[in-house]
């Protein structure tokens, strides 16, 4: 799987026997000795954290599925029963619900890391593309899962999101009803959402395998974005990075535990404690926090179809990013001007999230009495900047910016002149 010479020597008769037939222990051993750049910082620990998140969701999810009932009359009740009556359900249900948020938190950091250090550039385009597909399927999984507890937000979120398909010209309505299995979100919808919510995490697990394979084949990027040139530039994955990852996982789990034990509902919405009612829409429909920036982009244009296309484009643009950025320099550390644009980009993403949570017509930034910038206007500016960053700033800066001088090698950068 990894392209470095194998140092594994089977010692015992059974392992020698197995090694000739299925070198699976060798595969694991090679993984552990994989030469990683010696200068990886803590932003590189999120890959390990994400693996942990996926495992947490799968294990807690399978347990929830043993007690959950995917029927419109029983689903809400069954989730309440898990929380109240099932032994340790009070622990496992919030682990899954909070776990989804922690998973997205980690994936966003992981993606911003890739953006900042240019990890999407040659020869790592396949690593980035698999990452984008994983992110897309994660969003689908999160959305499908949020429907399952069958609260008001579950129901109306599902109605709004499946409504996107209804906006497709000509075939929209048939497509939407085909997805729903009825005229509106109802029992057939809940059943299929449950089946797909169960399936997709395993698809993600397979894609993670390909993502890591592509990464080991191309070699890991690093904070200065210069390829390792000699053996001195690298360290074995174990024990150096297993320990670093373990420490980061520990800190991450502290945050995770804080939410599970003290604030299990802080990341959710109170309306989801009201059972789904197709006759009554909540005052204010909002998606989970991790979808808010896209929700703001959706609402930034008054036209239904245009809004959807713009939101799809916001994700699609990530897929073509490796071919938009014209600079050969990977790390923003050596791109002083683009670095500032990057910081503005991160701020724009947060602003979009804020606008997604707000009511478009409300005032976001007041100037004096009931005058000021509305969320709608702010969302439009941030949306424009979001797209400009990918479609204008990155292509143009690569051509006009003069990068800073880069060190000769990773060892030089870490240890200076010392050997």
């Amino acid at each position: 799987m990894s392209g470095h010479p194998s140092t594994y020597e089977p010692k015992y008769a059974p392992t020698k026997w197995l090694d000739k037939r299925l070198p699976i222990i060798r595969m694991g051993a090679d993984f552990m000795t994989y030469p990683s750049p010696r200068n990886l910082n803590y932003w590189w620990t999120f890959g390990g954290i994400l693996t942990l998140c996926l495992m947490t969701q799968i294990i807690t999810g399978i347990i929830l599925a043993m007690h959950y009932v995917p029927h419109v009359d029983l689903a809400f009740e069954s989730v309440q029963r898990i929380k109240r009556d099932v032994p340790f359900g009070w622990l496992i249900q919030p682990m899954h619900a909070v776990g989804a948020s922690m998973f997205f938190f980690a994936v966003y950091i992981h993606m911003f890391r890739g953006l900042y250090y240019g990890s999407y550039k040659a020869p790592r385009e396949m690593v980035w593309l698999f990452g984008c597909v994983i992110y897309l399927i994660m969003m689908a999984t999160g959305f499908l899962g949020y429907t399952l507890p069958w609260g008001q937000m579950s129901f109306w979120g599902a109605t709004v999101i499946t409504g996107f398909f209804g906006a497709v010209p000509v075939v929209g309505e048939s497509l939407q009803q085909w997805l729903l299995g009825g005229f509106a979100v109802d029992n057939p919808t809940l059943n299929r959402f449950f089946a797909l919510h169960y399936l997709l995490p395993f698809v993600i697990a397979a894609l993670v395998g390909l993502h890591v394979w592509a990464m080991h084949h191309a070699g890991q990027n690093n904070p200065i974005g210069i390829e390792p040139k000699s053996k001195k530039d690298t360290l074995a994955f174990h024990p150096f990075y297993t320990v670093k990852d373990a420490f980061a996982v520990g800190v991450f789990l502290l945050v995770f535990a804080f939410f599970v034990f003290y604030q299990p509902d802080a990341l959710g919405h109170a309306d989801n404690y009201i059972e789904a009612d197709p006759m009554k829409t909540p005052e204010h429909i909002v998606p989970e926090w991790y979808f808010l920036p896209f929700y703001a982009i959706l609402r930034a244009v008054p036209d239904k179809l245009m809004g959807i296309l713009l939101m799809v484009a916001a994700i699609a643009v990530l897929f073509i990013l490796p071919w938009l950025d014209t600079s050969k320099v990977r790390s923003m550390r050596f791109r002083p001007v683009t670095r500032r644009w990057f910081i503005l980009f991160v701020i724009a993403c947060f602003i979009l999230g804020w606008c997604g949570a707000g009511n478009p017509d409300d005032i976001a930034i007041p100037f004096g009495e009931d005058k000021g910038i509305t969320f709608l206007l702010l969302a439009r500016v941030a949306t424009a900047f979001y797209f400009a960053f990918f479609l204008l700033i990155l292509p143009i800066m690569g051509m006009i910016e003069k990068p800073k001088e880069r060190p000769e090698s990773i060892t030089k950068a870490v240890l200076g002149g010392a050997e």
Binding site: V160, W178, G181, G182, A184, R192, P278, T281, H284, I285
Partner: protein, 190 residues
């Protein structure tokens, strides 16, 4: 086995091979298509979902100014007994200025004697934007929107007293379901 098997007498007919490839490929494609069809179609509406498709509503129970809300095919249906003021407002609009031009009469179904009864407006209570249920309680002005009909709080669509879109992101008027008068006061929706 020798590497020097004499193949010289063997003649390969390229046309025949191409034919076999194409025929095999075509048979496999048809087979895959035939299998995909049921796998795709099972997602559609099931027979029982389609069968549960109609309800009857007694209009005489709704007093003037009131609105009845009933669940039909998983969606709310609004039946509004409109006041004379609401009717005249709906009829007086210049339809040229509408986003989805329709006269009030075009939004009504004929009674058994072939006439239109503008008192009763029957609509699917689902916002044509992203499917929220608009509000429109009698007497609460802010709940009826700027045009006195319905208001969708989700993204701010305003509908008039005929359920036509007047302001906001919704692209079309509130849908009129297929319904018929089965007597002077009872309608059947679906």
């Amino acid at each position: 086995m020798s590497d020097h098997t004499d193949n010289s007498h063997e003649h390969i007919d390229e046309d025949k091979r191409d034919f076999i490839y194409i025929a095999t490929g075509a048979a496999a494609a048809v087979g895959a298509g035939a299998l995909a069809w049921p796998l795709v179609m099972q997602m559609g509406k099931a027979a029982d979902t389609l069968a549960a498709g109609s309800i009857e509503i007694d209009l005489s129970k709704i007093s003037e100014g009131q609105q009845l809300k009933m669940l039909w095919r998983g969606k709310p249906v609004f039946v509004r007994h409109r006041t004379p003021a609401e009717i005249s407002e709906a009829e007086s609009v210049d339809i040229a200025q509408l986003k989805d031009p329709q006269t009030d009469d075009e939004r009504l179904m004929p009674t058994p004697d072939g006439k239109l009864d503008p008192k009763y407006l029957v609509m699917v209570g689902v916002c044509t934007h992203f499917g929220c249920v608009p509000v429109g309680e009698q007497g609460k002005v802010d709940a009826q929107g700027e045009y006195g009909g319905w208001y969708c709080p989700c993204h701010g669509s305003h509908y008039d007293t005929s359920g036509r879109i007047r302001k906001g992101p919704a692209p079309t008027n509130l849908e009129i379901p297929a319904y018929t008068y089965i007597s002077d006061t009872v309608i059947k929706v679906g």
